[in-house]
């Protein structure tokens, strides 16, 4: 997993609430057996006409946001399916951070497994970031995970919360499985204990 420490980049405003994972990556692109290559189909049905041409007013098709690395989103971003193809598509496009008032649980988890930082902020802060993002490509925001701060293009600074374990993994690009396997003996003894208590399980 790619490390995440500090990022300064273009933020794309996506004010719509309840942006679901079917919107982020429609089902016809879930038939891949790889994790990469989904960026071109990110937000496919919002981004392209049926004939494959771009829908000009969709935010990521606008010249200012074609290289966005941050999304400022409406409430409940990533709701719906558990498909990890959603963060894979975001990452493949180049998005490393999404900020919203809330995220769906599974999507939120999936982001951390892929080097994407989802940040939950109160409505009034998201409103400020959204307005800043709407200024376009020159309005770059800075996300500092170490310091846990977001800095707008005009220098306003907001602190954010992040789970300590997840922060550690993201900053160091750590593989969860490796860390868990180090607890192998705890898993062994749990299995031994439950084999006696709940043998049917």
């Amino acid at each position: 997993m790619e490390k995440f420490s500090k990022l300064t980049g273009i933020a794309a405003p996506m004010q719509l609430v309840n942006i679901d994972t079917d919107m982020i990556i429609p089902k016809q692109f879930l038939k891949t057996i790889a994790r990469t290559g989904l960026g071109k189909n990110l937000f496919d049905e919002m981004r392209y006409n049926l004939d494959g041409t771009e829908i000009a007013d969709f935010v990521l098709n606008q010249p200012a946001y074609r290289h966005a690395e941050i999304i400022i989103a409406g409430d409940n971003f990533g709701c719906g399916s558990s498909r990890e193809h959603a963060p894979w598509a975001l990452l493949d496009f180049g998005i490393r951070c999404v900020i919203s008032t809330s995220f769906a649980d599974i999507f939120y988890n999936n982001c951390f497994k892929n080097g994407i930082l989802p940040i939950v902020m109160p409505q009034e802060v998201v409103d400020v970031l959204m307005a800043d993002a709407k200024k376009g490509a020159n309005a770059r925001q800075t996300i500092d995970l170490e310091a846990q701060t977001i800095t707008t293009s005009d220098g306003k600074v907001f602190e954010f919360d992040v789970d300590a374990h997840r922060k550690h993994c993201l900053i160091n690009g750590l593989d969860d499985i490796g860390l868990t396997l180090e607890k192998g003996s705890a898993i062994d003894s749990f299995e031994k204990k439950t084999a006696a208590l709940r043998p049917w399980a």
Binding site: Q15, L16, V17, N18, D20, D22, M23, P26, K27, Q28, L30, K31, T32, I33, A34, R35, E45, L50, G74, D75, N76, C79, G80, S81, S82, R83, E84, P87, S102, F103, A104, D105, I106, N109, N110, K113, N114, D163, A164, H165, D176, I177, T180, L181, K183, A186, I187, F190, E191, T194, R198, P199, W200, A201
Partner: protein, 468 residues
Amino acid sequence: MTARTLYDKIWDDHVVHQAEDGTCLLYIDRHLVHEVTSPQAFEGLRMTNRKVRAPEKTIAVPDHNVPTTLDRANAATMTEDSRIQVSALDTNAKEFGIHYYPVSDVRQGIVHIVGPEQGWTLPGMTVVCGDSHTATHGAFGSLAHGIGTSEVEHVLATQTLIQRKAKNFKVEITGSLRPGVTAKDITLSVIGATGTAGGTGYVIEYCGQAIRELSMEGRMTVCNMAIEGGARAGLIAPDEKTYAYCMGRPHAPKGAAWEAAVAYWKTLYSDDSAHWDKVITLKGEDIAPVVTWGTSPEDVLPITGVVPSPTDFTGGKVEAVQRSLDYMGLTPGMKLADIQIDTVFIGSCTNGRIEDLRAAAAILKGKKKKDGLRAMVVPGSGLVRAQAEEEGLAQIFIDAGFEWRLAGCSMCLAMNPDQLQPGERCAATSNRNFEGRQGRGGRTHLVSPGMAAAAAITGHLTDVREMM
């Protein structure tokens, strides 16, 4: 000991390790696997030379991509990329030695229908699957939730999941449901009341008389859509109905082990004085047959209602409703019962069980679908299909002009040949009315099986109570 909820109890019994910051390693009793969200996980194991830690607790079945037409044994019915995914699952199941129900097996079906049917899902277990509708299994009083592919790989390799505990949310449905009102109407009405983010950060326990009165099939329908309300999982405490459903299933315990299991299951309830972080109560008798009008499961109203206006809403929802109405081709003020439909889909992990087919067949018996309308019934598993044939339900559907399909996810998510065309409008018993969910430009109205059957007869959304 302090009073605990059902969720607290199951959680406590599965903690392998707790870190200082509260992050837990949770043991997973059952891992269900399907073809869409698993290939990258198995590939990850191969690349790191890891094995499946507990293959005897891991069950795989292809469902999302699989065609449901009677000719599906012919490989040409699948697209190349679908065929690759299904054959990757075949290979992975064999190579890693996990339980497998291939397409050719009569027990094949939607993973969330197969698990309970085969007795893999039992009360008090932790159950995960790379699919958000894993919430279904909560109907047994098991802690069940969807996970992403990285977590699928984590569970395959370690049989555990890194988790932080969610909060407790009690959803109580008092009293009894009125005739024509079903589990689907309960679960949609709850989402209508709480919103699709109302459950975020919580595990829901559904309780109250109306829930107790539901069959196991109905309880699975309720829990299935907990995720549409944003909850990590939905739970219903096990009772005599639960034990009766589990007893004798192929992978349920037998003899003395059964007795020991039931004794444990009887401890699985929320203590009277347990702490709830959030509570809502709905009266069972107030719940009506409902339909969705928009592109979020929270966009739900009784069938007697009218299409709302964006101005009825506030904040970000105003823009979302305007977008929904444009997408759905609806005008504010229009009666929901006047909405004409082109297609009826009965099936999915929400409503593809035998009781759902019985409810639809009861409305359709001796009647015909409206001319020109496309209608299909897709049983949730090969065994549901066989039982429906034995009970004469299949013939009722066929006589009514429905297509009688083989088991799979079908038109719920359109990853297979069953899809809506742009602008095509569908009354569906599935779980998501998102834009493009059933096919690009397709318009979905979520309903109960009885409501779907009623709509098939009249050609428009219809109050099932008028047909009873």
